[in-house]
Amino acid sequence: MKHVAPHRWADLAAGRIGEAEANRIRAHVAECSRCARARDRVTGAYTALPDIARAPAPELGWDHIGARVYWAVSSERRSIERTSRQRAVRRRRLWVAVPMLGAVASAAAIAALVMSRPAPPAPPVATAPAPAIASPAPTPVELVPAALTGVVTLVTGEVDLDGATTAGAILDHAVAAGSIVRTGAGRAGVQFGAGSAFTVGAGSTVSVRRFDAAAIELAVDGDLSVEVSARAPGQRFAVVAGDRTVEVRGTAFRVVHREGALRVSCSHGRVAVYDSAAAARGEVYVGAGHELAVGDGEPLLDRNVRPMTGAALAALAAAAAPRLPTWTDAASLYRTSGALVVAAGHGSAVRVDGVAMGQGSMTLRVMSGRHLIEAERAPGRWSQGDWIEVGGSGPEARVDIEDIEEVVVEAPSPVAARTARTHQLDASLDHGRVATCLRAVSKQGITDTYVELEVGVDADGALSFLNITSTDLPRSTAACVRDAVAAVKFPAGPAATWHHRLTF
């Protein structure tokens, strides 16, 4: 008898072979060691098949994947809608242009005919008015833009948000159109996107007039610092300060409007400041590192725009609201983040995970997990730090600065250190290499992407850590960008930790 074909062992194990045939095979295998080995292997693997069929799904970053899917699908949908709108406009223009060309050509022909012949005596012709052609009225299509939700990330001192006055209640209260934030001796930070947040300074009132995908409009009386990432095409971001409007796209700036005077400072990008009233229509631009100071009623002139001092730039950077490292949607963020209450003496600066958060007691919204809290004992002298566990949707976590042990650590200003290291990274990054990483994505026509990294550099210039905190790129592409950042050589200097956002 020939050897048994391997698939027959699977048939035998499944009971698909008749008894006579099975006996014949068994008789053969009793004498054939090679077939016995083959039988053991095949039947062993065959019995493993049900295990494979029952293998569960591995744990993946479900929220991240979901966000990427929605982003991809909605971007595509928007692009299709935009294209169809443009086509419709072109078609309308064609409908207007063709009859106009026809009319012009007819008029020219008639004129030529009239000029070439002597004019006959005009017969008495009764002229009737041309019947009016009723053009169909365009049906207005009202598109309701999606409403945005702001998540409060910082509360210090006296803050009132839509009547909520305790830190816990404010932190759980979402900011939407119609919300009003009032501060006494305190400030509040609100995040409304991956790279977008605003901070209401002390003694200020900010009214959220409009807050949706098409436009964001904030009215300020007092001090408002804004950091806003690149907006969707066509989306408007404006701050109304008295009779002036500050309009931006992708920048960080501060608007202070008090007692009839307006001061607009800009650290990144450029903002346009113009008179809200159509009759006045003065307009100036304030670029990065410049500020505008002008009184109400005074004309907006370019000469009022002046460069900022280093101290003013540092103050502007320090006024930025803390941001959560990931941004999906408000509901998910409320589930995956929690409140952290830091009790500190007045004027005592606080750092959370190496990032300066301001001075005095404060309540922050941070992602679930362990966080390092440090306090500044004296200028440049930071405490050793204390780790605290924050749970999502659970009770707030509390840390008392007085309990944190003091160590003597001489350190430069964290803001200055961060600024210096950020500039070094921007200057030394191999943009050609980054472009190579993004080639595949670019070929697909995908734009407005980003990678946000958490970067730590020690005093020797060595990278202490480099993590991708948020991105909308495929994992391999983001890792490629991270590797490009990892290749940057930092000189020795101040140690710094910061969130660095690269947009493409």
Binding site: M1, K2, H3, V4, A5, P6, H7, R8, W9, A10, D11, A14, R16, R34, C35, R37, A38, R41, V42, G44, A45, T47, A48, L49, P50, D51, I52, A53, R54, A55, P56, A57, P58, L60, G61, W62, H64, I65, G66, R68, V69, Y70, A72, V73, S74, E76, R77, A146, A331, P474, R475, S476
Partner: protein, 229 residues
């Protein structure tokens, strides 16, 4: 058809509130209208079955998140053309199979590094629920599963997918034909040769590739491969 294997209980994967109870046709309708909550609900309902199916077909979790994303992007793009002839789960399974097939093809062109098989699959100890087993037995089972995927990796992609769907997922020829957009006769022929090749590879695993002079059925249609339905 898209089976929900090993889904955890609890509210970890709870979808958007308010849409958990709506039926499939309404969910599809609201997804087509571009409603974000419906989009999220559909994703939450099917994310684990989709990932589990891709994981089982491929045997490793390399780039699994990218593949899950690809399946859902294709699904949301094509939702307008979904006529409702099949269940939504079946339709999604079809997309899974095609995405996996594309992945297998690209992997065939660019072979995996040695040791690329995912160890997580070795830990799929479903048998522990049924009866406790010794560490030696667990190791044997893990090795058996690894041998199955080694043999699958050596099959041509079309044969591999047909064999996987029939022998492991237990689907009949008609269902397989729908999933791979073919006809049952082609599937039957392909399965016949795939079974012979697959079990031969399993038998030779560790033998240094020695061929056995066989005594078996010799044409498509005979034996279980051809006759299975």
């Amino acid at each position: 058809m898209l089976r929900n294997v090993g889904r955890k209980s609890g509210n970890v994967d709870a979808g958007p509130a308010g849409l958990a109870d709506i039926d499939e046709p309404e969910l599809i309708q609201r997804c087509r209208a571009g409603e974000r909550a419906a989009h999220d609900e559909l994703y939450h309902r099917f994310k684990r079955p989709v990932a589990a199916n891709l994981f089982r077909v491929l045997g490793d979790r390399t780039d699994l998140d990218d593949l899950v994303q690809e399946v859902f992007v294709i699904a949301f793009r094509g939702l307008d053309s979904f006529r409702g002839d099949a269940r939504l789960s079946t339709w999604l399974y079809r997309i899974c199979v095609n995405v996996a097939l594309g992945r297998i093809r690209s992997r065939t062109r660019r072979p995996q590094p040695i040791g690329g098989l995912d160890l997580d699959l070795h830990g799929a100890q479903s048998s522990l629920v049924d009866r406790p087993e010794t560490p030696e037995r667990a190791l044997e089972r893990a090795e058996d599963r690894a041998r199955v995927y080694r043999a699958l990796d050596r099959l041509p992609p079309k044969k591999r997918i047909v064999l996987f769907l029939h022998e492991i997922e237990g689907l009949d020829l008609k269902d397989i034909a729908y999933l791979i957009d073919s006809n049952p006769v082609t599937v039957r022929t392909r399965l016949f040769y795939a079974r012979r090749e697959f079990f031969k590879l399993l038998a030779e695993d560790g033998e240094g590739g020695q061929l056995l002079a066989e005594d078996g059925d010799g044409e498509p249609g005979a034996g279980s491969g051809g006759g299975a339905s």
